[in-house]
Amino acid sequence: MTLLAASKVSLSFAGVRALVNIDLQIEEGELLGIIGPNGSGKSTLFNVLSGIYRVDQGTIVFRGERIERFGIAQIVRRGIARTFQNKRLFGTMSVLENVEVAAMKGVQGSALGDVFGLNSSLQARKKAGAIAERCLVLTGLADSTGLLARDLPYGAQNRLEIARALALEPTLLLLDEPAAGLNPSERAELQELIRRVHAEGLTIALVEHDVRMVTGLCARAIVLDHGEKIADGASAMVVRNPRVQAAYFGEVESEEEAHAA
Amino acid sequence: MFDQLFIGGLATGCVYAVVGLGFTLVYRTLRMVNFAQGHVFMAGAFLGLVIAERVHLPALPLLFVVGAVAFALGMVLERLVFRRLYHNHEVFIVGSIGLGIVLMNGVRVFFPEPVPFPKVFGSEVVQIGAARFQEGYLWVVLSTLVLVVLLHAMFTYTRTGRALRAVAADAEIAATVGVDVKRAIALTFGLSFAVAAIAGVLIGPLYFVSFDMGDMVGLKAFSAAVFGGINSIPGTILGGLVIGVLENLAGGYISSAYKDLVAFVILLVMLIWRPTGLLGRETPVKV
């Protein structure tokens, strides 16, 4: 069943076309890879899906509802959570609090109820605490709950972003270059984590520069280049597609050689 | 009555515009608001007074000397004081308010009472249509015009002017093409002090000079800058003139009780409707 379907999505900034007629389906339960060279529109696509940018044209349907005009918070409430390429944690808050903020989404009760200690609010907070706890355990951060987010090592900050997104209990998780800046062992850990999360039944879309990681994790992948979708299919096949090769390695090499000579 | 109100408002508006320029110059370079600006205007008036009483300078040299001294003072204060306040805008605001209080009360120690300013611009009364006013009003308007033209020429045609604009646009990159950014910022403060001080000398002979004369003018000039666009020089000039004229008309035709309200209501409405002001360009609202 199709969880999210974008059709003919276009967006440009000051005349520069960032996304051109993108069609995209994300099936329930899948782990979709999105690859493409730098500046190809991968992050822009995520920004559109998560409501940070509004599309110029096209529709996005998520679980039967049109969401392309929704704001960020509205989309999160519909069940799409995301992480950011350049970590956007709440630096002066503790690891636990970072995740708790997100976990609050799923619980009832009002802020004033919190202040006056109403029973329903206390229950709700307890529930949020439990959700947060679970996400931290899942991401291997259970031992550093009391640290400030900004004091975490880089690799752990990465996992904290994922934990925070998970605490929103999303239907669809968008991971934006989670492996950027990680060393090989951290990268392997991350891969393992994504697998684990996916195995719990969550639908994931993964933007990644590292093609190996995508081919290793995702059955299906799409490739973007200069804002256009140039390939869509089984990830192992997609990377062999000549257009994809060209996008990564440049077009006919001989022509270039001729120029250089 | 309209002529009278309009011309009176224009002169006040020129003062708002010139003092407001000081806000704009600093703001577009640092994204900070210097709340001592109004008191610099006041200090400039007293500087002019002290100089005019000691040495009998004609009007133009007097304006020049005061501008030069204020310029130097601005550079020095940047180095000693402002530089330590760039931490964030809250710190800068409170620090500059503190500096303003020090300036104002420092001047008060020497001049506890309002003092008449020598009539360096002549005291003839001029009649235009039904309006009568002192020659000094003409001086204010003309000097503002000259000052704006000079500043414009400086920013457009000189190497330093270009460098200041480049620093305002992107200080980091300006440094990589060889601009000494710290010096450029010091120059910016120098300029903002100079224009405010010159405005002080212009207004001095029209009214009296007193230690608290910068309080309200500072806030109004600030409103003018925001109204026109706090990062836009033409915007600030326009904002100053509009507020000066509007408040005078409101004072004359509606009620002088709420004359001062005009500037601040305009400020608030403008910020909500279009925070960048009439001619400003940057988008302040982030995602």
């Binding site: - | 009555m1 009278q4 109100l5 009176g8 408002g9 002169a11 006040t12 009360n105 008060r108 120690v109 020497f110 506890p112 009472e113 309002p114 003092v115 008449p116 009364v125 009568r132 006013f133 002192q134 207004i203 029209l206 009214y207 009296f208 007193s210 608290d212 004369m213 309080d215 309200m216 003018v217 408040e247 005078n248 008309l249 409101a250 004072g251 004359g252 009620s255 002088s256 009780a257 004359k259 001062d260």
Partner: protein, 376 residues
């Protein structure tokens, strides 16, 4: 010189507390006024008046052998601060307070004096509400707005022959208070003002207000405000071609009026608290005062110091002499006080509300100085 003052101030700050306990035998006279803020020049005048009186009394052996020590507290010319300032005087156990400048400040700080049961002689605030029968500890020696505004209204019509009177007033309590009484008094005489416009104390440019007044074409312009707005209004009115004669009340009674509006102020008629030409005693005091305080941070202005001096020397000290420092007795004594004061024609006495009943002085600005008014 400024530096020495600063060091002096620091030393004073440090020693205030000690001075209080060391000289418990002294009679303590509290003075509250603005030594900073917009009312500074008045505050300094008040302080000087008190200093002069206390110095003279102490030099003459004090009151029954007890010296007077002066406790001066700054209220920054700000009503919020002035509550604290008065509280400080209460705390320092002063025997009475003579001072107070600015109606807003006095209205705020008199509540503290009333609650503490401290006799308070107000010298520099004119709002009528300060002296009511309810406020039994508060007295006032300066005229109220009502007395002055009434008197100047009367003089304007009967003695100056004005027919078209316009009013421009500060939007503060002083200006509004004067305006209300003035307009009411004119009505009683059968005249309506041709224009009434307010301004804000901090205004510099009055062309908007004056343009309206010019349209009304008045022959007299009443200005209810203080320095520096009042002289600015005079200058600008003349620039605009308004020929009306200026009249006013005590707010204009400040020599700075002539400094700031040397030409425009000529011929202005106003009521005042003090004038040296009223009697030789006043002249002698004024000369002494000027001699003693010239060279300070502001030129000495007898008119600012006169009331404080007179209230201390001729009202407070005789009462302490006769009734001692018991607060209730002191209060009753002040209430009963009756006598003569220099520059006040005839006898003066306190009415039931604690207001000093007296004749005021009408002066005219001529040749750059206040002259006793010699009109009809």
């Amino acid at each position: 010189m400024k530096m020495r003052k600063l060091i002096g101030a620091i030393t004073v700050a440090g020693s205030v507390a000690m001075a209080v306990s060391a000289q418990a035998q002294d009679i303590k006279l509290g003075v509250v006024a603005g030594m900073s803020g917009p009312g500074t020049s008045y505050g300094i005048g008040i302080r000087q008046g008190a200093e002069m009186a206390v110095r003279e009394i102490n030099a003459a052996g004090g009151i029954k052998g007890r010296k007077i020590s002066l406790v001066v507290v700054d209220d920054a010319s700000n009503p919020a601060q002035s509550v604290t300032a008065m509280q400080r005087l209460v705390n320092d156990q002063v025997d009475l307070v003579v001072g107070g400048w600015g109606s807003s400040q006095v209205l705020a700080n008199m509540e503290v004096a009333e609650r503490a049961g401290l006799p308070y002689i107000v010298v520099g605030a004119t709002n009528p509400k300060i002296t009511t029968e309810k406020n039994k500890w508060t007295f006032r020696v300066i005229f109220t707005d009502s007395v002055q505004a009434e008197q100047i209204a009367d003089a304007a019509v009967r003695r100056l022959g004005m027919k078209r009177i316009a009013v421009i007033h500060d939007a503060n309590d002083y200006g509004v208070g004067n305006r209300d009484i003035f307009v009411a008094s004119l009505k009683k005489i059968g005249l309506d003002p041709v224009a009434v416009v307010p301004y804000q104390s901090a205004d510099k440019d009055f062309t908007a207000q004056l343009s309206r007044i010019r349209e009304a074409n008045p022959d007299g312009l009443a200005i209810f405000g203080t320095i520096p707005a009042a002289p600015a209004i005079m200058n600008q009115a003349r620039d605009l071609g308004i020929k009306a004669r200026f009249i006013g009340t005590g707010g204009l009674a400040n020599e700075n009026l002539m400094t700031l509006a040397p030409k425009a102020s000529e011929g202005t008629v106003l009521t005042t608290y003090f004038h040296e030409d009223v009697d030789p005693q006043a002249r002698a005091w004024a000369d002494r005062y000027v001699k003693e305080f010239s060279g300070g941070s502001q030129p000495p202005r007898p008119v600012l110091a006169a009331w404080e001096y007179r209230a201390v020397k001729f009202i407070a000290v005789p009462c302490i002499e006769s009734s001692g420092t018991d607060k209730e007795k002191l209060r009753q004594c002040i209430g009963r006080w009756k006598g003569t004061l220099f520059s006040v024609p005839g006898d003066a006495y306190f009415d039931k509300t604690g207001q000093l009943v007296q004749q005021s002085v009408l002066v005219e600005v001529g040749k750059g100085a206040f002259q006793a008014f010699k009109g009809k």
